[in-house]
Symmetry: C2
Subunit: 322 residues, 2 copies
């Protein structure tokens, strides 16, 4: 019942803060016609500023053929804003009652074959869609800030969402140039925020205990794990660091370290099952490539990342080289 | 009593696994004369392979004037290996008794004005240096893998280490082109590993619960937080994401989210003191730059990182684009 995701050409973005504005810029850069719904004319200058800023980066990364800021329409009337939409990206403030009222209305005025995605980072679709008469096509499509640059979109439906709508959403974002990640369970914070939040809470513990300053945290991340994480994530990074034995060897060598107080976060029990699941998962990512190949790729990409950051900072010596 | 750190020209690396071998390659690339101590001739082929691999990346990043693989000496005799050393980087296996025996010996045969740094990630210098007669100059200098590429070195002394040796170590690594981070307290896992380990444990919890696979974890990191973390760490990233209000606004808006179950890690209590410390810390990193300036720098650098990774993968379509 949903249209072919590659036939989509008209998108409506609801909400025009940093997330909604960022999505608008992104879809324009990918060559879509975009209508943005603003709640209040007073929001327009800030929205235009976000668009202008985002466009600089999007242009550097390469615009799609025909992409243009002229293909933007601004509307202050919700019915008008959504009437031609083939896809809707909702990014209104993180307030459950506000979202419920909006989805109740969208449920009435938007044809049921149009998928509506929410950018929410803190709410669950099961809770949002309760008031919507056509909840099957309501899905979470959670981007990462800045949404016009970072490719990740985490996707998960609520209890009443149809699996078809979830599959459609993933296919659509993929075509739109994003990195869609369909989640297996509706969990608070999804995946990326949970990982980031664990790190952030440990950072706050260290600061609270006088063990590190904000500068220390950032220096450690930027010069240590982050450039590697940008090219190999964390599972593959550990798999490769352990040489020929991969993740299995890593658990054999560092498994006991899970009991060490290297963070305030208690580790799960390293059962045989968890070990095997992770080992298989890493083999899947490695996809037959040897650790030497993967290490060579990692090194080449870290070099590229470090050189790119360095070059950016040479251009602007006031850059964030704290 | 310690020499001027910029006068150092001869370094001895003890241990030649991935860490010791990586350090050897790095110091050679920075133009030092390096002697490496190998425990056993059987280790030499693997050590040479590490050196060869590392040299490719180090050459891409730019070698120091006069840097050459010919300035390497290999020794199988510890006394010979250290006799001309002006700085020692120790990277033997993570075994407390092994390190204690080694530091007892080094304490006797290495002049007390030569600083000895340990690459240990899991042990504390207070525990290692107990057997050393000249512990004042023994310091932790913990690199991040791969040590020839990632700039971070975490530095901390043990109870018997002199503050002068710690300061000297930091100055020396800085001159050698590293990003030294002097820690305020001797805590297990130092800073970067604690942050990374919190993230890793949360990842293992998700896998154990069937909420995510290894691929999901890596896709989420590589396409979400990691490219931003590589250019702004985490504190400055949150500071900038919150717009004009910075970290203070972030706590006002997202402080309550610390109570949400967005990870299994319990958050510290967000006291007024912790809030103020973080706000001041972020102001320090921001260093008078407005959030617009910082956002523009962030965007330019994320673009550079994404473009660099993309370019690396175009060259090698077999790259890690999982």
């Amino acid at each position: 019942m949903y249209p072919n995701p590659s036939d989509i050409s008209r998108i409506t973005c609801i909400g025009a803060g940093p997330i909604g504005g960022g999505w608008t810029a992104y879809f324009l850069a990918r060559g879509y016609d975009v209508t943005v719904y603003l709640h209040d004319p007073a929001e327009e200058p800030a929205f235009r500023a976000i668009l202008k800023t985002a466009w600089i980066s999007l242009t550097s990364l390469g615009l799609a053929t025909g992409a243009s800021l002229d293909r933007l329409s601004v509307s202050y009337n919700l019915e008008d804003a959504v009437k031609d939409a083939e896809f809707i990206q909702e990014s209104v403030p993180e307030n459950l009652e506000l979202k419920r009222a909006l989805y109740a209305k969208l449920g009435e005025i938007v044809p049921p074959a149009v998928v509506i995605c929410s950018s929410t980072s803190g709410l669950m679709m099961t809770d949002i869609q309760t008031t919507c008469d056509t909840p099957e096509r309501t899905v979470i499509g959670h981007p990462f800030n800045p949404p016009y640059l970072l490719p990740l979109v985490e996707i998960i439906g609520g209890k009443k969402t149809s699996p078809d709508a979830v599959a459609w959403t993933s296919a659509f974002y993929e075509i739109a140039g994003k990195a869609p990640l369909v989640m297996k369970k509706e969990i608070p914070g999804f995946i990326a925020t949970r990982l980031q939040e664990a790190l952030w809470r440990e950072a706050l513990h260290m600061v609270a205990n006088g063990e590190a300053t904000a500068t220390d945290i950032d220096v450690a991340l930027m010069n240590g794990p982050a450039p590697r994480m940008a090219v190999q994530g964390h599972c593959l990074a550990y798999h490769v660091c352990s040489g020929k034995g991969g993740m299995a060897a890593s658990f054999d060598q560092f498994g006991p370290a899970l009991k060490l107080p290297w963070t305030r976060l208690e580790a799960p029990e390293l059962t045989r099952e968890l070990r095997d699941t992770m080992v298989e998962g890493c083999d899947e990512i490695a996809d037959g490539r040897s650790f030497e190949e993967l290490a060579a790729i990692r090194d080449r990409e870290i070099v590229a990342v470090l050189a790119a950051i360095r070059a950016s900072r040479v251009v602007d010596p006031g850059g964030n080289d704290a």
